[in-house]
Each structure stands twice: as C-alpha cells, then as structure tokens.
Symmetry: C2
Subunit: 465 residues, 2 copies
C-alpha cells in the first residue's frame, strides 16, 4: 500500500498535455536523423550541414577575445574594470557588437544598416523565433515560405504557433507566380499573411540561388502586396564567384526586408551568435514610433535576456581581425567549399552520369546538392545506407514536412576531405546501383516511415527541377 | 506623386498587429525602469539586481577556458582537434557540462540529478520559457506564482501565452493556504493548473526564505494535487549561514520538482548559462517514454539550437577550478553580500528607525529588501528620486503587474561598495523625509503613471508583511 501510494504520487506527464510542436512530424524526423547519425558514427556523412572544421584551433578563441578587448580599450576608451564589466555582466539586450555587424554588412554586402536596427541574437535561430513571435498576434496570422524549406524556420514557426504556407520552388528558387497565388488564396481565406521567408543565396536544402530579375520582382511584390520579406543569408558570403548577386536587403528601398544574419558558417557555430536587421517602423505605440528591432529586443529580454557578451566578443574579435570583412575572414573555407562542390558534382557525373532517372542540380556555391532518383528515399533507405554502405545523407522529405520529395536526397559537401568525398561517393553509388538493380520495390520487413508510399510514381508537387 | 507612392510602399507595422506580450504592462514598465537608469547614470542604484563585480578580471575567462580544455584532454581523453571541435562546432542540444552541473548539485545541494535530466540553457530565462512553452498545450493551461514575483517569470509566461495565477505572499514566502484556494478556484473554472513557480530561497523581489515546514508541506500539496513545482534557486547558494535550508529538489521524493538553475549570480551573467533539471517521465509517445528534459531539449533545438559551448566551457572551467562547488567559488562574494545586507539594514535603522509608517523586512541573505512607506511609490517618485536626489530603487508595483505594492520599494544591496551604500542611504532618507514632510499629496505637473492612485490608503492585497 505504501509503495502503491508512492507510485501514484510520482509526477508523470502525458504527451498529449504538452505543446503541439513536440508531436509535430518535423521535430520527430530531426530526432530520427540524429539517432541514425549517432548509431553509425563511422559512416561518411553527406548529411550534416556543418561548416568545415579543418582550420579550427582553440588559440583563435583566446586571440579573438584579446582583439576585442583591445578594441574596447583603444577605440571605445574603456578602462580595465569597464572591459571586465562588459564581458562579465548583463549587457544591452540588443548586444555589444551591433556596430561591427553593421560595418561588416557595409563592407561585404553594401547594406546600409543603422546599428540601432541590429539585434544580436543567440544564433539566427533565436532571431527567427523572435520575428515569428512578434508577427503572430492572433490565429489569422501566417507566413509564406518556399517548400522545401530549412527545418529551423519550420521549428521556430511551430514554437511561435505560426502557420507556414508553402510556396513552390522552381529551378532557380522560390516560384514568384506561385507566391502570388498562395498569397491571394490565403487572403481570400481570411488569413493575414505577414511575411515571406526566403533564402536567395544557396538555399538550404536546394542549394540554388535566385536570379537578379527575380530578386527585383520579389521586392516589387513585397511593396505592392504590403508583405515583409525575411531574408536568410547564412551562405551567401561563402561564394568564390567574382560577382556575387546583391542581397535583397541591399536592393531594398522600402524597408520591406528583415535581414537574418548568421555567424555559424562565417564565424563559428560554437559562439551561437547571429543577428537580425529590422529597421521597419512600428506605429501605434503610446510613447511614439519605435523600430521593429526595439520590439524584437523587448521579446528577447524575456527569452534570453541578452546574447552572451563573451560569445559576442569572440565574434567581434574575428570581425576586427579582418577589417569587418567576413569574405576576407573565410577565404580558405570558401576555397574548400568550392573545391568540394566541384569534386562531388564531378564524382556524381563519373559514377552516375549515364544512369536513367538519376539526376541532380548543379548549384554554383553553398553546401548542398539535391539528387533525384527513381526509387523511394525514406528513413528506411537512410538506415540501410548507414548500416550496409556506411554513408549518410538527408532524405528530402524532411524539408517538405513529409508531404513531397519522396525520391530525393540532399547531399552536403561542407565538412568532408577530398579522400572521404571519393570514398563516400563510391558508397553512395553502390547504394544507388543496388536499388536500381532491384527496381523500385520495397524491402519487406524493413522499417517503413509513415506515408513513405504517398505520391510514389506520380508527379511530385514542389520538387526541385 | 512619385514621393507619395514611395511613402505608401515603405513597410510600417501597427503595434496592434504584433504579439500581445509587447503591449503588456510588465514589458512597458521594465523599459521605463531601464530608461530612468540610463538617463541618470551617476545616481546611486539600489535598483539593479546584478551580482557584485569587484572581483571580475578578464584573465579569469582565459583561465576558465584553459581549465575546461585540460579537462577535455585529461578526463575525457580528447585530442586537440576534438577539443577544438567541441568548442567551435554545433554541439549536443542538452549541453556539454551537464555532468559538471550534476556534480555541483550533489556537492552543494545534496541533489542527486542524473546528467541526462539536465538541459543547459541560455541563462535560466530560456529554461523558464522552454518549461512554460512545453506545459502550454491549450487555453486551459495556467501556472501559479507568488505575487509579487520575478519579472523574468512574468515575461517568459507572456511569450508562451501562459496565464500566471497570483498566489499571496506571506511574511516568509508563498502562502500555502492561499495556494490551495487559488488552485481549487482555478480548477473549478476549468483551468488546468500545470505547475507552481516558487523561489524558496531569498526570493526576488521580497528577499524572504520559506521555512522548512512550509517546504515539506508544499511538496505534500504538489503530490496530493498532482502539481509540478518550478523551483528557481538563483540566490540560495550565496548564503553565509552555516546551515542552509534544503532545496525543494533535495527533499523531493516524487519527482514533483523541476529545478531551475542559474549561473548568473554564482558564475557570471555574461556567460548566459543556466540549466533545468527535469527528470519527470513523459508518457504517451509512440516510441516509448522519455524525460521532460528530452522534450525541453527538442524545443530548445528549435529556439537556440544549443547553448554556446564556449560560454559553457567558461562556466565549466570555473566549476572545475573549485571542485564543482559554487559555494566555494563564491566565498568572497557571499561575504560582500552579507556585509552589504547588514550595512543597509543597520543604515535604515539609524536613519529611519523612528519614522512612523516606514518599515522594512529583514532577509537573512540574498540581494533584496522591501521597504514600505506611507506614500505612493511609483515611476514619478523614481524619476524625482533620480533627478533631485541621485538615488535609484525599484517601485514594487512592477513585481505585482501594477495591481498592488503601491507603497513599497525594493532595495538591492548586491553591487554597491560600503561608501556608496552610506551615501545612497543618506539620499534615500532625504527623499523619504521630504515626502513625509509633504504628506501623501501628489506633485501637480509631474509625470503620473497610470493607476498610481489605485488602492492608495486602503489595505494592500498581497503585500509583504
């Protein structure tokens, strides 16, 4: 009886009483992908979208900190106690490197951002959540985003209870005719479409970039339809081409673009420092107009208080060491990515160039390539690939919320060395040959993800051309 | 016409179309307090609840990082490339110092926490949001919290759309009879009361600690009423008394307590590292039971991805340097807080001990003292104090959501030196004498915060005894 009472009293929570995001298919699928990667640590991974780590050295962290402290001393005129206070204490909610971020945007992107419109965040992920939370006033609100899309956007939207309306992806990025259709349909249904999320440069997961004409048209649509554009530019600076296309923000004349910046790929993921430039005016406050950045800062004060000034100092030091140019800071890495991308594209051509039904796109930069095959690509195939072929990739269905992409996989080229790429492509080709030999039939008894057969054999909506 | 079109096209957002939290009185009042502090930087501040910064030295950051890297090398057997990867790359969502956190809880608190139940967060603030977000499934959900309460809890609840139901604060902390009444009333109204937030040790803002008997009774109530307790222990370790009372978590036999930890006061605010211990089982998942910590980790992966491993390394190094005892790491600071608290209490007695209607409580530790006066304490008084007397405090109304505390102010003792305390108390006493001489009348023409007169002269609900 004593034991029974104790058992009854122990706290337990039922999953159905927790926030709906926890039961969403996106959360579950990311968990599954991580499990596969953890179970087969020796597999060659084309899955992880991580930056190249061959140049990492802990001494750099100490150096960056010192450079930033020197800057506080010599340029901002702080004494030792004030420098220590800047790093150790609570700090301004908007951050302590907004001026350096603005300088780097001017140097690298030709973007003219006032530091007061910059909020330094705990990675770009926090910035996405803050934005979606701010823009979500009631059940009518929604945002548009290309399908397939970055899972971080999907996750932030789930946390903010913000519906994401999918827009078709064409060969060179978001399909602007479909965007207009979706926008009008949503409005006819009573939705208040607040913004469209877009990654014009080397989008995750499709790797393609939006042509200049489309960038101009997208800005015109935003102005004409009273829409914000949430521009995510995690990869654009890692471009070896002589002429990088201009960002939406640099072309923006009507404050339509909220710019989302990440230092995960250009600085280091471990700092967890990103930012948002939000220079839109917010009216209707009692005390006078403010910037959207001020509103995001208020929300941030209740979410993470401020971004670690120690982490900001590390990124600030890295910026200062390269005259605030992230292009300059990443010359070695950019060369690695260019070489890897070329090697994977060439290697696919050599191994699979004559295979019927096996195609891939050819991005000119970024981390990702999408491969289309004439058989089902699901988590069962991933587990088979990991176990029997020692190679990992990401089934594209995860970027479509499991509604499309059933015969596509994403390859990431960013972390591997030349040897591993060759070995990994051999393994991947062996897997594909095996499946081609077998036809498109399923393996009985293998784990089958729910809905894996939906749409198989039919034209796939929203697929990358 | 050209110009007019341009004006129309520029993006503007109306405040009414943004998330309701941004218009909440709590957000507005914190903004106002910060503005006053910024406008009068030379005022002596009893307002800021910041840790003492007299021992800060940037060299410590470098040392902590080195100690942690040595630990990775010698205890976890990592090579240099792996150490660099640990600090630079994306890391485990739950964090990389969960084992050290668990050890420190065992050493300092006698809490037996499995590292798998620990999620390292971006300060305790993120942990509060994650918890409230997880526990908020629909409109029925609510949490209880003492009134007055920490504004960070109020803010996190606003962001999570989670209503906070106030519980009366008695002389020694949360009033357990009122808790039961509020709980039953809420349930009768159809609410699903998920948890009660509580700070048993030196609560912010009232400074008092819950007696041992109340701690046991609170745990019994939680078990009997199927309630979680969210125990926030930001100040408990900074206790100079020989016998610290046990935390709720250390007394918990039924996994009723979710423990919220902060390194802001015991480590340094600038690391922005906190954590949550959530060892509750979550049932009803397809794939088997998980811990609440696993669910919080899933939410975190979509909010901040992971807490900066660099920031975690700084805190990890500080823990390692003191054999994982934060009590040992904070001996100097604890002595400063003890001395300051004594000095402020003695100084109040000397200056205001014989003034009718002027009283204060006498916490035995922590950062805060609450002063009750026979006149209105509002933002107008604060601005007057800052401008004409050069002294800052926090009107208690801000911790009541502007519904009570109209004649109370909070004094923080944590950051000031001995000289500044004497000078500040002289200024505060001059302000109080001035107001006592004038009676309780208001100054015409001065800024009057909305609702400042509500309840004046009547018994104040929820006031600290």
């Amino acid at each position: 009886m004593e034991i029974l009472q104790t058992e009854i009293a122990v706290a337990e929570l039922h999953a159905a009483t927790l926030h709906a995001s926890l039961a969403d298919v996106s959360m579950e699928s990311m968990n599954l992908l991580n499990q596969v990667a953890d179970t087969y640590p020796d597999a060659i991974s084309f899955a992880a979208g991580r930056p190249y780590e061959g140049f990492y050295d802990v001494a750099q962290i100490h150096e960056h900190l010192q450079v930033f402290c020197d800057h506080l001393r010599s340029r901002r005129g702080l004494g030792e106690a004030e420098i220590a206070r800047t790093l150790f204490q609570y700090g301004a909610t908007k951050g302590i490197i907004g001026d350096l971020v603005a300088r780097s945007l001017a140097v690298d992107e030709g973007i003219d951002a006032d530091p007061s419109s910059v909020v330094v965040t705990v990675g770009c992920q926090e910035a996405m959540f803050l934005l979606l939370r701010a823009l979500r006033a009631d059940d009518r609100d929604a945002v548009l985003a290309p399908s397939p899309t970055y899972v971080g956007l999907t996750g932030a939207a789930l946390l903010a209870d913000m519906p994401v309306l999918p827009v078709r992806t064409a060969a060179h990025g978001i399909d602007l005719d479909d965007l207009l259709r979706r926008l009008r349909t949503a409005r006819a249904e009573g939705k208040r479409v607040r913004a469209c999320y877009v990654t014009p440069d080397f989008a995750n997961p499709v790797g393609v970039s939006l042509p200049l004409a489309d960038r101009h048209r997208l800005l015109d649509i935003a102005a004409g339809e009273d829409l914000l554009l949430l521009e995510d530019n995690a990869y654009g600076l890692l471009n070896s081409a002589a002429d990088r296309p201009p960002t939406l923000k640099s072309l923006d004349r009507h404050r339509r673009v909220v710019y989302l910046g990440s230092f995960a790929k250009t600085g280091m993921p471990g700092a967890r420092v990103g930012y948002v430039v939000a220079d839109q005016r917010v009216t209707g406050h009692g005390g006078g107009d403010v910037l959207l950045a001020d509103e995001l800062s208020k929300l941030k004060s209740m979410l993470t208080v401020n971004t670690s000034p120690i982490a900001q100092a590390v990124i600030g030091g890295k910026l200062l060491a390269h005259d605030c140019s992230l292009v300059a800071a990443n010359r070695q890495e950019t060369e690695v990515y260019r070489r890897n991308l070329r090697q994977v594209l060439d290697g696919l051509e050599q191994r699979l160039g004559d295979r019927a039904g096996v195609t891939w796109n050819a991005p000119t930069g970024g981390f990702f390539i999408v491969l289309t095959v004439p058989f089902t690509v699901d988590d069962a195939l991933l587990q088979h690939a990991a176990r029997h072929h020692g190679v990992l990739f990401t089934p594209m269905r995860h970027f479509y919320g499991a509604s499309a992409g059933f015969r596509q996989l994403r390859l990431s080229i960013s972390t591997l060395t030349s040897d591993r790429i060759e070995q990994g492509l051999d393994r991947l080709a062996a897997l594909i040959e095996e499946r081609l030999d077998e036809g498109t039939g399923e393996r009985p008894g293998e784990f089958e993800a729910p809905g894996a057969q939906e749409g198989a054999g039919e034209p796939l909506p929203g697929e990358v051309a």
